[in-house]
């Protein structure tokens, strides 16, 4: 029976250390080929015609002028006459032309008539939402009303919210499609290499002009990609249109979204606003929580927030309504609905702590029994408090500083599942000593190629430079889509299993030469050696030569049929923020952020830390600036760009400190990390601003107008 268990701490040379990305050099040198970089022989450029109206019905489409434009090669419909368009930027048709400029000219020459319909784009003021409201979710646990009316209870009520934000992937959505004969090759920017081929085949098969397309005719290639954050799971209308254009023209076609299109239609995180009530006994024991929340996910709802968040064993009642708007549809965004739920819970609890005249660290710690993992959070809060010097920096809200700067600290805690996705990994050992792992996964950003390489090299006792990792090709053994923090757990399990099976086979081949049973051998430091007598060994290449002409090929699977477990789900994390607020201008500056995170066994400490840095930076962006701005009268988004849709620059992010709980929870196995650290930054920063000012800025982003309005409400400058 093979032993798949992760090596013990003292037996690891790579796992849990800091290792540079295998593909780092090719990314910084620009030799990594992203979908956007693919320029095939004879390739045409595809471009979309999209709706200029937030809500309209198409009454006429006339492409005759476009067809006469120089360089025009083809056009395919996405929405036909009669279709009701639900947001500005919704796709109507796609054209292909010789160059990007020709495609632009052709797009401009397409004439479409519309019946313009009434629109609704602003949901924060729920009283104006009228018929656009649909009840979505109600929950009741225990007796919250009794908790609120009990004697000796301190109750806090407040309004909180988060604006809708966009994904802003550095590489926009899109692909190059090369349809030759029966074979369709798609160079796609996707987080689902193994899934979108079937999606494309199914969609093409509904169009008689495309003939029968089987998933096996479609190859998806994604060696690298420029970000997804949950917005790139589907083939999307533009992927289907791009394939049709390739078929129609007999040429490869590149169709990548423009930045404006990306902002208008290719991904948004729903807003959440709500009135929150929370109650505690005078000793700080949380007894009740109540929420009345609303949100928009664009035309279709995107689920209710998980409220109350993390602290969920008190009595509570929650009610959520959805508001349909004529805005770009939402897609999953790192930890769907959790970041907003953290704002709606952690900010209210911090305000309740203030009313109780308690330090929020004490208040949170006192109530950890209401969470799923009290010990984890308790240790993490202590660690984070130490790293940010909470004791030195915390003060009664608003009571600090002089001049025009106020400084404050805040915290938030979070959770996530991260169950490993299914994955198969082919591990091969060649007679010439080459070792490779091959799997149909993709690197959405966590450094997945390196994770696989580390697991493979560690198992074989080889340096990382001596193994090869093949990912990003749908013909490889299937691996799940990268979403929900499921990939690192999934691929490290399948790789470990495949690697152990392959190594065991090699041990079996060389055991006789070393004069012991295979079980008595180990792979260490580039050798296969006798455990009890390491001097009795074969170098890796000597051992592999014993294979003769045979290549070892083993498939590792997650989950394994034997039910063994190398990965897990369910983590906790704590974040703290230290901010300065200029009370004359309302400008908030991040001094420092601390993130403490549990993910079970850390495979690569460096890329894990990087992933948390990225999450903190994203969080600073949406805490302070990010927001889709729509004009009510025209229904137009006014900032579908990166000028007034504001993201942080390097000078805006302060000092970031990441502490991974390395070696603490190794026995749980590997757990993914994409989502959890992206949850807390907004709430932690909002709480730090509250601590600085002594007044809540209720809605993020906390732009100067909102900060000054809150200060004015308090009665002038703090």
């Amino acid at each position: 029976m093979p032993n798949f268990d992760w090596p013990a701490k003292e037996d690891r040379s790579l796992i849990s250390t800091r290792i540079n990305r295998l593909d780092g050099p090719m990314k910084v040198r620009g030799t990594a080929k992203y979908s956007y970089d693919r320029n095939l022989e004879g390739m045409l450029y595809g471009m979309l015609v999209t709706s200029p109206h937030p809500h309209a019905r198409i009454t006429k489409i006339d492409t005759s002028a476009a067809e006469k434009v120089n360089g025009f090669r083809g056009a395919v419909l996405i929405n036909d006459v009669g279709a009701e368009l639900q947001w500005t930027g919704q796709e109507i048709l796609a054209v292909a032309a010789d160059t990007e400029e020709h495609a632009r000219d052709a797009v401009a020459a397409v004439k479409i008539d519309y019946e313009v319909l009434p629109h609704f784009v602003k949901e924060e003021d729920v009283t104006k939402a009228g018929n656009y409201v649909t009840p979505a979710d109600e929950k009741l646990e225990g007796e919250p009303d009794a908790a609120f009316s009990a004697a000796d209870t301190v109750t806090h009520e407040g309004y909180y919210g988060c604006a809708t934000i966009n994904h802003c992937c550095l590489e926009p959505h899109g692909q190059v499609v090369d349809w030759k004969g029966d074979e369709i090759t798609v160079y796609a920017s996707t987080q689902a290499v193994g899934r979108i081929g079937a999606d494309l085949a199914k969609n093409l098969s509904t169009d008689p002009a495309m003939g029968q397309v089987s998933p096996s005719n479609v190859v998806i290639l994604t060696p690298v990609m420029g970000g997804g954050f949950g917005a790139k799971f589907a083939i999307d209308t533009w992927g289907i249109a791009c394939a049709k254009l390739s078929k129609q023209t007999g040429r490869p076609v590149k169709l990548m979204l423009e930045r404006e299109e990306e902002q208008l239609m290719a991904g948004a995180r729903p807003s959440f606003y709500g009135n929150i009530k929370a109650a505690a006994k005078k000793d700080g024991t949380l007894t009740g929580y109540q929420s009345e929340t609303w949100s928009t996910g664009g035309p279709s709802p995107r689920g209710a927030p998980p409220l109350p968040y993390v602290f969920d064993k008190e009595a509570y009642k929650t009610r959520h309504i959805n508001i349909a708007t004529h805005t770009g549809p939402s897609r999953a965004w790192r930890a769907p609905n959790h970041p907003q739920a953290a704002v709606l819970t952690m900010c209210a609890l911090t305000d309740l702590a203030a009313k109780l005249e308690m330090d929020p660290v004490s208040f949170f710690k006192k109530n950890l029994g209401l969470t799923a993992r009290p010990e984890v959070y308790s240790a993490q809060i202590d660690k984070a408090a130490e790293l940010i010097d909470w004791k030195g920096k915390f003060h009664k809200p608003g009571e600090n500083g002089s001049g025009y700067t106020r400084r404050g600290v805040g915290l938030s805690i979070h959770t996530w599942g991260g169950r490993p996705h299914d994955s198969q990994c082919r591990v091969t050992i060649e007679p010439d000593g080459k070792v490779a792992a091959t799997l149909g996964s993709q690197d959405l950003g966590p450094g997945l190629r390196t994770v696989v390489g580390i697991v493979l090299a560690e198992t074989m006792g080889l340096p990382l430079s001596q193994v090869t990792v093949n990912i990003g090709d749908s013909r490889y053994p299937p691996s799940g889509a990268s979403g929900g923090s499921t990939s690192t757990g999934g691929v490290s399990s399948s790789t470990r299993r495949g690697a152990v099976l392959a190594l065991d086979e090699l041990k079996g081949v060389v055991a006789a030469d070393l004069g012991v049973a295979a079980e008595e051998l180990e792979a260490k430091d580039g050798t296969i050696r006798v455990k009890a007598n390491p001097s009795k060994s074969l170098s890796w290449s000597e051992a592999c030569r014993k294979l003769g002409s045979k290549t070892i090929s083993q498939l590792g699977e997650q989950p394994m049929r034997d039910g063994g477990k190398l990965a897990d789900q369910g983590v906790g994390g704590v974040q703290m923020a230290d901010v300065s607020v200029d009370i004359e201008t309302g400008i908030v500056k991040i001094n420092k952020m601390v993130a403490v995170q549990d993910i079970g066994l850390v495979i690569n400490l460096k890329t894990a830390e990087s992933q948390v840095y990225g999450a903190l930076i994203m969080g600073i962006c949406w805490a302070l600036w990010e927001e889709r701005v729509y004009d009510e009268v025209t229904g137009q988004m006014l900032n579908p760009d990166m000028e007034f849709y504001k993201l942080a620059g390097i000078g805006d992010i302060g000092e970031l400190v990441v502490h991974m709980d390395t070696y603490t929870y190794d026995d749980r196995g590997v757990i993914g990390l994409g989502e959890p650290p992206a949850v807390s930054p907004g709430a932690a920063i909002s709480n730090a601003v509250f601590n600085a000012l002594g007044v809540r800025v209720p809605v993020v982003p906390m732009t100067p107008d909102k900060v000054l309005a809150a200060l004015e409400k308090k009665g002038g400058m703090a």
Binding site: T585, T634, L638, G651
Partner: protein, 325 residues
């Protein structure tokens, strides 16, 4: 981008031959940091673009009589790096350094900064400079958080986006403008105006005129620029103030106070200037000047906060100019 002819003259006279008497037909390309995006968005669709790169006489910073002459195509980086400007006109050097992007400073030119089109997001989304829908401006009750708080009685509500203009107005600078019919000097303070219709420009220039140089009078005054910005990354300031103080000992003999990003033009505040004249600069005096600067402000539905920001920018610029920041 619509196809266009490109001309690359090597003299000003040759460049003038290419200009048109109608706005919109011909655009002048210097650094291109504004024009290229206007053309890509089809906000500008010129038939011809006249590149100024090849014209040597538009370059250089030099003394010219009692003035410092800055060529129209001097880059913002050259301006920020110039030791004489840093020493004699700190308000201008600080304004140039406030453009927090090496790329923009390296490509953007001084005249290009002065003549750039407004960043109003209605304008940039193709809804016109005055952003009218059914004959009525969308802005007073729309998304006006970045719009004007002064000079905003309509129909123009955008703010002048120039980073350098407030400092240059405060320093009493002029631009030299040439056309085939001759040349004239225009005080930068008079270079801007609020257009009455969508077909008008926000500049007191004719389409066949070319700005060739900027002239700053010699001065021993103290000066400073203060910007309120949300991000350290390249970002438009929410408000700026440039202040020039003519001192007599510790007393302000006369002051020039100009705010940016508050009105369709750089907004000079005589009230703030009067509040400073004859005073010794203190925190209270600076604050009084800041309050005076926005006393006449008429904020729109979402931009009341900018009144506070403009007042603070003036206060802080006054203190900085007086060496008290």
């Amino acid at each position: 981008m619509q196809a266009f002819q490109y001309a690359s003259p090597t003299t000003v006279q040759e460049a003038l031959d290419h200009l048109s008497s109608t706005w919109g037909e011909v655009d002048v390309l210097a650094g291109g940091t504004d024009l290229l995006s206007l053309m890509k968005e089809r906000i500008h669709t010129p038939n011809k673009v006249v590149g100024l790169r090849g014209i040597k006489e538009l370059r250089g910073i030099s003394k010219s009589g009692n003035n410092l002459r800055i060529g129209a195509t001097v880059t913002v980086q050259e301006l920020a790096d110039n030791s004489q400007i840093q020493k004699q006109y700190p308000a201008l050097a600080q304004a140039a350094a406030g453009i927090h992007s090496p790329q923009m400073r390296s490509m953007g030119t001084v005249a290009g900064d002065l003549l750039q089109r407004p960043r109003c997001w209605y304008f940039r989304r193709g809804m016109g400079l005055l952003a009218k829908s059914d004959g009525k401006s969308l802005i007073p009750t729309g998304e006006n958080r970045y719009h004007a708080i002064l000079g905003n009685k309509g129909p123009a509500y955008f703010v002048n986006a120039s980073s350098l203009a407030p400092a240059l107005v405060a320093l009493g600078a002029k631009v030299k403008v040439v056309s085939k019919s001759g040349s004239r000097e225009v005080e930068i303070e008079k270079l801007y105006r609020a257009p009455a219709g969508d077909s008008e420009r926000e500049l007191d220039l004719k389409p066949d005129e070319l700005v060739t140089e900027i002239l700053i009078p010699a001065s021993g005054a103290r000066s400073a620029t203060y910007e309120v910005r949300e991000r350290q990354l390249l970002d438009w300031p929410l408000t700026t103030a440039s202040v020039v103080l003519e001192m007599s000992g510790n007393t302000v003999k006369s002051a020039r106070v100009v705010m940016g990003h508050v009105a369709p033009m750089p907004w000079r505040s005589s009230q703030a200037e009067q509040a400073l004249a004859g005073k010794t600069v203190s925190e209270d005096v600076a604050m009084a000047a800041g309050k005076a600067a926005v006393a006449a402000a008429t904020p729109l539905s979402q931009n009341k906060y900018k009144v506070q920001l403009a007042s603070v920018a003036v206060k802080r610029a006054v203190l900085a100019a007086a060496g008290r920041a």
